[in-house]
Symmetry: C5
Subunit: 343 residues, 5 copies
């Protein structure tokens, strides 16, 4: 008796060879399908959980659907049957074991983690595969331009890139189920769906398909009017009222404390925005009130000085000019600012 | 000796065919069960960990139970046995391998991740499947309407959608174990369970069942009375007391600093709410105190002016009117506001 | 040659039947064990990482141990061997495959996720199973009652519910390894272990066992004395000192600014607590200082008024009363508050 | 033909028995290895991402290495080969299936989750197993004692406990790769490695090994000098300057507003620390400035009083004493405080 | 009939031996490949989601690509086929089962968790393996030096270490796909790619390869100019204006309140930075304004004193010097500071 009977060795070899053979057959089937797999893609944004302008990103709850056909997974019995569900990672494993490919994808402008709620693949008897993923994720919005803040209008997009080379996977937009929902839950911004399109990208050297969903928004101004504009106008008005008192010393006190108030406003506003390399409309507005308030202090010190050195009359005349020049100055400045930024 | 003995090849083919055969049999069994699977659904909210009105969402600890029967998993021996537990992902895999379907579901208004504490499937000898999931999750509450804030009443809901088409899965409410618990741990809101019902949705093109749990709430007002109303009333009263001093200059100082205080209140309140596109009852209240305080400054400047130009008597008479008009004005304004918002 | 040789089919049937047979035998073994599985439970709280009174929850690092015996997993060779470790999910899978049950459990008052550090099952040759889980988790503390805040005493508990019906799983407390540790790392609260007991719950319709670990705590008052009481007393004292200056106008200024200070304190305190539907001892204290300060302003305005209209003498006499009445008033109020809340 | 041919049954029994046999052999191999497995342990802290004194914990990026030998996994061919990597959970599963044990461990003072970056096991032909885990984690530091804050010195440690009983696993320190790194990235603390040792613990009833890495730290004082000490000294100096003005009324105003400033400091400091049950050096310092400022107000009120009742001379003399007593008082108090805390 | 027929035992032995034999063959194949595996590495930073200078770290969205060849995974049929995707953990498992190694790696300066979006391995018929990981992660930046803050320039790097010894894995930079992207979304910093190189490290005793990607940045100064410099200059200017009023008492009030303002600035700045063991340029700037403002108070007290004791003329002369010395002092100080820090 030999340790390895020839029959046994023969058997083992056959098993191994047969497995190779099977693999080859399966692979040939795949290789022959060398034309691209057409993948229908739809992305629907249901909720916008936040738009964080300081971090320049936004978070959404969305559903991504991908549809394609894999003939080798079709049921040959030809019967019309209902689709069956698979958890997505289990389905990927199934495809790996069968030597099949799938539309590997990656969000180009994603930040952090994708929190999947549901990630299901359904497969029917014709080999139609539908991948449904409902997720919460945060996307970069690097096109934020705050120059006109808070009158600015911004563009947002979500970009989905295919990873393998373009010969295999081809994206097609499913238009009717893409877009942004009715009930986004975003209070500050008025948002509008702008585009759903397929383009290409070259992130990995070769051309590959990219799916883009875009939307744009501009702000409700109520917050800025109620919390910034009205308080500032009331303060300016109240400090104007004091002009009628002819008490230069009191005016100096009041305008100095207004200055501190504007510094507080300045910091409040700055917490709202990233640390930009340019100045915004709001900054211009606040700097203008700074400068004006500083000039008012200067003017009042001058008037007081004139009064102290006995030129009461000159001070009084100048003061009349200031009293009416002050509101004019503000109105003119505000008007100029609007002109400069809109034209 | 040939590489593949005919016997071996024959064996392999038989194995493959037998597997196909088995699969077909199993599938036939499923397909014949073409009427919908009735799924009993119950959702019980045990805790409300937070209601975040700024982000317009709320977080709950809840238990979702789904009950259905899968005859193919029944034990044919017919004996009455106790149910056995499975971890949910393992059970899903088991179903996948058996070519069976299950009630794939998705929370419509979920935000972020579902943190499952327990996610167990029990299966008994009759094929009764009970899915029990205890989880913590955050749901969108997009119906927040702050127009009457803080006297507002809000509606909250949790929507559970079935994913596959409606022919297969049919939801039935298990009424007695659905609802909201006794010990929610929410201090600001008084909450009341409003409905548990099954409706349909068209999120994925076709009609599918939707389970809805709704509840509504209105606020305890103690916080707003203690932190906003009483301080504001005390400040208004104290600034009214100063009317009796006949010192117009001091009044200007005091009311100016009250103005700053109201601006501080304004910001405190605004941190509590999202940046809305409309004004709330609280805003109206604060704007009214703003405007009144501004007018009081104006009036005092005028009185002081009159005094300065020698019309002391006129000022004194006007002042008597102001002294009593001031509280009247507030009471009248408060009364008007209540009228406007309630009728 | 037929496609399926009778021998082959026969073999397949035998395999299938044998498997069924084996399963039946195994199940019978389980079913016969119909008396409850006794599960020894111990819970030890090592650290309290935070007590969040605003969210009404607390976070702990704890070890849960569950001990039970599964005879079918005993090694029949009868040898005394050391226990072997399994990762808990792998062990659950092992039990599923063997058709065995295990003590499925769920924390009743958990919030969010359980972060397991270690989750090991050891199995020895006698079939003794020990489940050891060391975790960090957050639990609801809905019994918070702030009426006596900051002199309040609170109760905390962790409730562990068994999920399957009570016939199968029976909890027994392992007293010596349950409780709270020596080095909890909690600085504000003095905590005391109050009970470890097994009760029942009806969360899923049927009676099932519940394990409860309870502890209670009251606060170190140093923080409240140092940050609230001493500053408030110093401010009250300093504003009392000014009574000796006989300058009613200055007193009005000072007490007005104290009013603002108390409003600031009011907000600081309110950030510490949830938005309650009742008032706390601290609120009463602050409201009393509010009201008193408001009355002091009123009194001084009155005195000033008397002075202005020439009744200097009356003002001076009244003032003497106020000067000594002011501290009396505070002491009396403080004494009354203590009486009211303690008896 | 019978359902179960005797040959088939016989075959099945043989398979089952053979499996038992194999298991027994394997187990015997393990049992005979009853002497403890020596596990070399090293822990290296690369980064300290934060020291959170309010929560009394610290977060580190560290590498844990465990080395031991498992003869049954050695390659019998005796050839010198390179080690092969395994993902740690896969390796644990491999050991479970082979009925082998491994050094199950748990960090005693961990809080929350361990975020593993890399968790690799390498196995070489001699059965040498090296477990390498690089992770980020947060550890409790319950020994924080703030009595001398901010001049305090604190001890930190990481404790790693072995879970199974001590007969099986024995820890040995690998000294040269344990310790704390050069580039910890911690700016506030000066840290020093104090010990790496193996002790025992009794957390699970029986004695088991514990690995301890300890380090200690004291603070850079620049922050406290720049943000607290210098501002307080400047304020004290400036309020001292006003003593030279002989205007008691102005002094009362200034020292009152200083009081408010110290209250603000008090809150700023308190946000830095947990709510302790004792007072710190910093508290003593701030309380002393409180008390002193309160006394200064009192003194000035008294002086003003003397002035008002015509005892100008007495006031002036007393004032001279106060003018020089004030700085003396501070220096003396500061000196006393240092003495009390250091000796 | 014996329990174990000799034929059966023989069969079992053969199976076991054959398996050993196969393993040996496979291993020999690996061992003979003793020369290092050349791994092409590229790292591309797409986004910088934040640079946190207080925690001294930065967060990026990046893509890591690793390319190597494993001949034993090549398809022997020699046909040119497309690559197939694998989920990375599944591929690792595949390699483990085949006894193969892979380029185990670890980020040296990572903090916390790596959030992988996509983690795919593709394998083609030539055995070319491409690992593509797109992730979000936080890296330590321990080289932060704030001495010149906010005019500082900082270096950032990402270090990727190979874990097994250097004989096996050799890193080669893929230059064209490494670097930092165009659209980083970082507003405060101007960033510049500085290097991509392969060095070695000795973290685990033996030499191993390390891949380093470095970039450097300096700040946009707009924020610091708008929020700090301009307000401070306006305050300094306004307090200078008051010098022209010759009212020493008012000046003392104003400069005292400026002092408080600078303390507020001091705290605002300190929240931006870690608690350093050295002083920054910004600190120097603020300390200088502190000291100057303190000296101005002192000077004004002195002037007032002179005035009080009747030396009006001396005070007036000194004041003229101060009036022009004050701005000179600031300009000179600012100039000096620039000189000191730049040369």
């Amino acid at each position: 008796m030999v340790l390895f009977s020839t029959k046994f060795v023969e058997l083992m070899f056959r098993v191994v060879l047969f497995c190779f053979f099977l693999t080859v057959i399966l692979n040939v089937a795949i290789v022959s399908a060398d034309q691209p797999i057409e993948v229908g893609v739809s992305l629907k944004v249901h909720q916008i959980t936040q738009i964080n302008q300081k971090s320049e990103n936004f978070s959404v709850v969305a559903t991504l659907i991908m549809k394609f056909n894999e003939p080798t997974l079709a049921d040959e019995s030809g019967e019309k049957k209902l689709a069956r569900p698979y958890l997505a990672p289990n389905f990927a494993k199934l495809l790996e074991e069968r030597g099949l490919t799938w539309p590997v994808h990656s969000f180009y402008n994603l930040q952090g983690r994708v929190d999947y709620q549901t990630r299901i693949v359904t497969l029917d008897a014709q080999g139609n595969i539908i991948y449904v993923a409902r997720f919460t994720a945060t996307f970069q919005a690097p096109d934020f331009d705050f120059r006109h803040f808070p009158l600015d209008s911004q563009n947002f997009y979500i970009k989905l890139d295919s990873l393998p080379n373009v010969n295999r996977i081809k994206y097609i937009v499913i238009q009717d189920s893409s877009g942004i929902g009715e009930n986004l839950g975003e209070e500050e911004w008025k948002l509008k769906h702008t585009k759903t399109e397929v383009t290409t990208h070259k992130e990995f050297g070769e051309n590959a398909y990219r799916f883009v969903l875009g939307f744009s928004g501009n702000r409700h101004l109520d917050y800025y009017i109620l919390r910034i504009l009205i308080p500032v106008i009331i303060i300016i008005l109240v400090s104007w009222f004091t002009f009628f008192l002819k008490d230069y010393s009191k005016r100096i006190d009041l305008t100095s404390s207004n200055l501190l108030l504007f510094i507080a406003f300045n910091f409040t506003i700055s917490n709202d925005l990233p640390r930009l390399g340019y100045i915004t409309l709001m900054d211009t507005f606040l700097l203008a009130t700074f400068a004006t308030t500083g000039l008012v202090v200067l003017a009042n010190v001058w008037l007081r000085r004139l009064q102290n050195v006995g030129k009461e009359m000159v001070a009084s005349n100048l003061d009349r000019i200031f009293t009416w020049g002050y509101p004019m100055f503000y109105f003119g400045g505000g008007f100029l600012m609007l002109i400069l930024f809109y034209f």
